[in-house]
């Protein structure tokens, strides 16, 4: 131990975003003009209301968003979602599109937890059907899905199996291992597999970190929740998604675990070393980037897509385990049905008019509208489901993408509540055992290995998800469909 170990907890002082001339330019939309700071190539725009803007100003996320505007090849604007908060280099809740082939790709614009995302399963059950067995049901879910950092799962992949997971995604698990159902694949973003994945570009170190982590939740804000449809806010879309009032649903929130983290670590280092060869300078080393078409850019894109596939597979295995638990605990009940699985941390190649762009979404959700041909056939004419997990014990939302979002936000919207205070600050303000009792008093059963970890994810540590969702609805970058409330939580 060191001679001196001290801990302090103040919030960092934001770098005067007010001085950057933030001004309202539309419904729930604010802009910092392109000439507000040196090096900006496009404006920065933030979807928020006054209250959320106040929250956002408390950290350095606006300054980070301005830094993102300096990336070579960025088009239109760097975008901040209403749940934006400070991240590593690139803010969480940030979106940046770069023009191909020579615009840059930046691992910091996707983040460490590549394809952290959400999968929603729907049952035909109502609360009364599960109430008598809810506690053992939640307990069995917690036994079936390992949670916590570094925890390993029941599936230990051989190197060949790992490469096939990375390269072939969910269809491989269905076809070769009988995990999940073929009809579910259409309801995973991109069918659960990104064809551009290149397992050979993923380091041995990353594969080693991931080899026993398939089917595990991980820690932090990751969770499985048993929920009830609390309110239907758009009858037509809800019907298309198969949602009805009082329905029991299951929401899975996790990502690519240690494998994705290592991919990001490996390629930030690679790009930090390569960036100068391309004459690029960035205001923060964590924004290290290279042209998309460069060898390093192509290598990262292949590795990142492989990590995306790994995360799709991770949620796929967890959903399979959840379905097994439901079958075991509720004999005779119909199979859980996959509503949708959507990513929050990715870069994808998308076409907007004549432009082919690399759309970085870090803590932001793709939200294609009803006219998109890239969404499940069953949802065309309605729009892509957008799944917004709340903080533990608060509501989650199902939204639907809009066609208007293509012009406003590169078909992107928010991803969750967004952290409002540090884990330590939450622990100092909340006692885990008290929170556990409070949640139980509200009819929410919690399974979490420790009270300390429970306190870290207390609802007060997050922004108000209801307000975040209101903003994206009013701004027109997604519409509200249904609100879900938890009755059982397995915390990662």
């Amino acid at each position: 131990m060191s001679d001196m170990t001290r801990e302090s907890t103040h919030e960092r002082v934001a770098q005067s975003p007010a001085n950057l001339g933030l001004r309202a330019v539309g419904p729930c939309l604010y802009e910092i003009e392109q000439d507000a700071a040196a090096g900006m190539r496009v404006p920065a725009r933030i979807f928020a209301d006054e209250e959320l803007l106040g929250e956002i100003r408390r950290d350095r996320s606006i300054s980070q968003l301005v830094n993102v505007t300096t990336l070579p090849g960025i088009v239109d604007a760097a975008l901040g979602m209403p749940d934006m908060h400070e991240g590593y280099g690139f803010p969480v809740g940030g979106v940046a599109a770069t023009r191909l082939p020579d615009g840059v790709i930046s691992p910091g614009g996707i983040g460490f937890d590549i394809n952290c995302g959400v999968r929603l399963l729907a049952s035909d059950l109502r609360e009364a059907d599960v109430a008598p067995t809810l506690e053992p049901l939640v307990h069995e879910l917690s036994r079936s899905v390992p949670a916590g950092y570094g925890r390993h799962g029941r599936l230990a992949l051989t190197r060949e199996e790992m490469d096939r997971v990375l390269g072939e995604g969910c269809p491989y698990l269905v076809r070769e291992h009988g995990i999940g159902r073929p009809e579910d694949l259409a309801f995973v973003e991109s069918g659960g597999v990104i064809a551009a994945a290149a397992p050979g570009e993923v380091s041995e170190r990353a594969k080693r970190r991931g080899e026993d982590q398939l089917g595990t939740l991980g820690g932090g804000n990751h969770f499985i929740e048993v929920q009830l449809v609390d309110a239907i806010l758009d009858e037509t879309a809800a019907q298309a998604f198969g949602l009805f009032p009082g329905q029991v649903t299951v929401l899975v929130h996790t990502g690519s675990r240690g494998l994705g983290h290592q991919v990001c670590t490996d390629y930030v280092k690679l790009m930090d070393e390569a960036i100068h060869r391309y004459g690029i300078t960035v205001p923060d080393r964590q924004l290290a980037c290279v042209p998309f078409s460069s060898p390093e850019g192509q290598s990262y894109f292949g590795a990142m897509c492989a990590a995306v596939n790994f995360a799709f597979c991770n949620r796929h295995v967890i959903a399979h385990r959840a379905a097994e638990v439901f079958r075991r605990m509720l004999p005779g009940a119909p199979q859980l049905r996959l509503v949708y699985d959507v990513a929050h941390n990715t870069a994808k190649i998308e076409r907007y008019g004549a432009r082919e762009l690399c759309v970085h979404r870090k803590g932001a959700t793709r939200a294609f509208g009803p006219s998109s041909v890239e969404i499940p056939a069953a949802y065309r004419g309605v729009g892509q489901p957008v799944l917004i997990p709340g903080s533990m014990g608060t509501a989650s939302y199902v939204l639907v993408g809009t066609d208007e979002a293509a012009a406003l936000s590169f078909s992107s919207t928010c991803h969750g509540a967004g952290r409002a205070m540090s884990r330590g600050a939450a622990k100092r303000r909340v006692q885990g055992h008290v929170l556990r009792k409070e949640l139980l008093a509200r009819g929410i059963i919690v399974r979490c290995p420790s009270n300390q970890e429970l306190a870290e994810e207390a609802p007060l540590a997050y922004k108000d998800v209801d307000r975040v969702v209101d903003v994206v609805h009013r701004a027109g970058i997604a519409r509200k469909v249904a609100r879900l409330r938890p009755i059982g939580v397995v915390k990662g």
Partner: protein
């Protein structure tokens, strides 16, 4: 004038991360203290003196700041996959761009608070009057 300071570290907490500050009178002591700080994050309980074995770490980077991130990420990886908390670090070679070290630690059943990685975000190492100060943000 050189200032004689013992190696030390401190933490400053932010929304989803931990900023680590390390002060030391030399680069080897700075890197060793960074290793001890990482272990302190992962498990604050006192550990026995390691015995019997050591691992060799060889790293190359483009500057000393990147070398520090590489060093911490190397320890993160080895801790995670080997379930080891490292507490002793002996540098047989260290410069601004490379290091060779023997590291020793204690095997544990499970890491209490694993660190996910070290980042380049606002990374710095400054040298003033013979004393080094580093700041590095850990993803926790």
């Amino acid at each position: 004038m050189e200032v004689d300071v013992s190696p030390s570290h401190s933490f400053e907490e932010h929304r989803g991360e931990l900023e680590l500050r390390i002060d030391a009178p030399s680069l080897p002591l700075l890197f060793a203290e960074a290793g001890r700080a990482l272990t302190a994050v992962m498990d604050a309980t006192p550990l026995p003196t390691p015995t019997g074995w050591s691992d060799e770490v060889v790293l190359h980077a483009i500057d000393r700041e990147a070398l520090l991130v590489d060093w911490l990420n190397e320890l993160v990886f080895r801790s995670e996959v080997g379930k080891v908390l490292f507490t002793e670090f002996e540098f047989t070679r260290i410069s601004e761009r490379q290091l060779v070290a023997a590291i020793r630690g204690t095997r544990v059943e499970q890491l209490r608070n694993p660190v996910k990685g070290a980042t380049y975000n606002e990374l710095s190492i400054t040298e003033r009057r013979g004393s080094f100060t580093a700041k590095v943000i850990l993803d926790v």
